[in-house]
Symmetry: C2
Subunit: 115 residues, 2 copies
DNA sequence: CTAGGCGTTCGAGTGGACTCCAACGCAAGT
DNA sequence: ACTTGCGTTGGAGTCCACTCGAACGCCTAG
């Protein structure tokens, strides 16, 4: 089952309370349900866009409690702000990279033509 | 002088060879030149878009040597690939966040109206 | 019955990127 | 002269997010 995270990390996430205790089969092995996978995918996306594990824990606590909608909203909105800022920074960096790459290409081509 | 990095980190960057030895004034203090700042800004941008310090070191070595254009190009292109991928992931996450936020807003509003 | 292989547990270890600290130097203000 | 305050150094320490290891359980194949 690929979710973009190693088994080790998955187990670790469970240990630190990011995941509710995953149900075990008769043999003691984890049986991930639909909802588990859904939740894990959300976590992976939050994590891969730079949310700290600590903040994911805070969010997880709120979700588990079933209440704290306002706080959850605040967390998500803050993260959205961060992601948006990162997006802008990345776009800028991308432009810069394109320029540099172009200039290297030009330099290389010029050197080739001198041969 | 704000470049998006602490003094500590700046000194550390110098120590680990990311920066050439910065010129010191008569009093022993660093005097950053135009080119230094330029270079630092590039580093900050690469770093903030997820390039590892190690890779920045590799790049710095190549730049310092003055040669290795092909390798530099490869490094930059690889990073561009990574940044593009991250951009896509972030955009996806952003959409997801927007949805979640909307749904929280709806839930909150509905609850308010019940009062 | 044994061996192999996978999954389990929790504590410990790792790697990356800072971040801090103590000791010191120098220059200006009182 | 003395304190304040900033900057310098290199080593050490911290924080984060994994990642690994050792001991164990359970099933299946031989």
């Amino acid at each position: 089952m690929k979710v973009g995270i190693t088994e080790h990390t998955l187990r670790w996430y469970e240990r630190i309370g990011l995941l509710d205790r995953i149900e075990r089969g008769a043999d003691g092995r984890r049986r991930f349900g639909e909802r588990d996978i859904e939740w894990i995918l959300l976590l992976v996306r939050l994590r891969s866009t730079g949310m700290s594990v600590r903040d994911m824990q805070r969010y997880a606590v709120l979700v588990r409690s079933g209440a704290g909608e306002a706080e959850r909203l605040a967390l998500l909105e803050e993260h959205r702000r961060v992601v948006r800022a990162a997006l802008v920074a990345q776009q800028e960096c991308l432009d810069l990279l394109d320029n540099k790459i172009r200039s290297y290409r030009r330099a290389t081509r010029a050197a080739d033509e001198e041969q």
